[in-house]
Symmetry: C2
Subunit: 272 residues, 2 copies
Amino acid sequence: MKNKAIGVFDSGIGGLTVYKALKEQLPAEKVIYLGDTARLPYGSKSAETIIKFSDGNALFLLTKNVKIIVVACNSSSSYAVPYLQDKFDIPVLGVIEPGAEAAVKHSKSKIGVIGTSATIKSGAYEKTIVEKKPGVKVISRDCPLFVPLVEEGWIDHKVTKLVVEEYLLPLKEQGIDTLVLGCTHYPVLKGVIAEVMGPGIELVDSAVTTAVKVRSILKSLGWLSGAQDGGEDEFYVTDFPDRFKRVGEIFLNKKIGKVTTATFYTVSLPQA
Amino acid sequence: MKNKAIGVFDSGIGGLTVYKALKEQLPAEKVIYLGDTARLPYGSKSAETIIKFSDGNALFLLTKNVKIIVVACNSSSSYAVPYLQDKFDIPVLGVIEPGAEAAVKHSKSKIGVIGTSATIKSGAYEKTIVEKKPGVKVISRDCPLFVPLVEEGWIDHKVTKLVVEEYLLPLKEQGIDTLVLGCTHYPVLKGVIAEVMGPGIELVDSAVTTAVKVRSILKSLGWLSGAQDGGEDEFYVTDFPDRFKRVGEIFLNKKIGKVTTATFYTVSLPQA
């Protein structure tokens, strides 16, 4: 097991935040990353569809012989992790539990959670936070326009500021002291979110705590790599490999080598 | 052939504009509609992926024994129609050709075309318009935030007005006299688009001209239904049947009966 890779999947490119944190925490591990860019976004889809897509992603990573699967996508983590844990024999870790952990560490009383419609509708963060710190109050809000704004590249745009205000001022007014950025796209908007929320509200995301958790799972199983170096990581996407490579390299500030197109939807004869 | 249905597919619910126009033009025909709500949007995906998804949609409609396939989605029409025409024996009609026809009928000199990134990148409207009216000038612009704004329901919102201004004022300044709404979602924003563009710029969409074209194709083949009434239409989606039914009924202002979930992506073992 020691020599096997860590598998990571996301609906797209945002999961590279988790990839980056993994490489910092576990430089000796090889990582295999899959972004389902053909079928994104997941955050506006139903639980059934998200589970189905996640299942396909996990199957793909298993063909690459990984020792653990990290679900970097919050929407997928919200719905599919228990299903995947039940179905597969290797450990499967989502980002909700580590994100909730980071939140309760910072919060004294009231936690805001923002995410896609799927993530917020699932109630997964709320449930996990309350389990970890009974009595804490959680206020959730979906922010469906954040992902399109990030993808349009309108990071410092007046429209983005207006949208952030519309979504988040009600949370500020309710007195939250911590805000969970419950979608891998949202850290890109950290600047404008911090500006709107003002000082005294801690913004947390789950990338680092997830990587720490992966290390602790592998260590407890005795599955940490004994190598000096993980070797070359592998990147797969279901659409737009060139764009992934270009944006990903800017994102990580390093070369990411070859990005391969993975095909796992088949044009098979449909059933109603 | 006369007794077979008309098949329509779209990436989601927007194609109901085409469905509605078909029912007005051809009340004696039965229509089978498929919305690929699990894999939408198409407009931010690659040509290869859009063709693959469209192929699956067409195969699904063929299992329902349709006599013609109408591609209501502009992104899909931009890339997949020649492929589908080549692959299948029945007529396949997209919305680009009818949309271009409507545009050249109105324009004296300069036509603006707006659509998804995929539609604009394809250059399909531009090519078709220039074929129909050589010498006419076409100015194109993708508007990636329009679909998310419509889906968020921000129709009369100040943010939407700002986004429309940012995308469309440059087209107005360049003196277009006609604007093609090259995405089935955009007619929902007709009010604010008309307000920003001001008088003297004609807004055209392709729903009605597409339906007229379908009638003329069926007529020329002798395939028009001889019935008094098409019977009950059938609606299929790949995700969220209840939402499709609810929003679709508001959209059409009539009951649309049962909406069935169609499954045509299979969780098959993936290949890299």
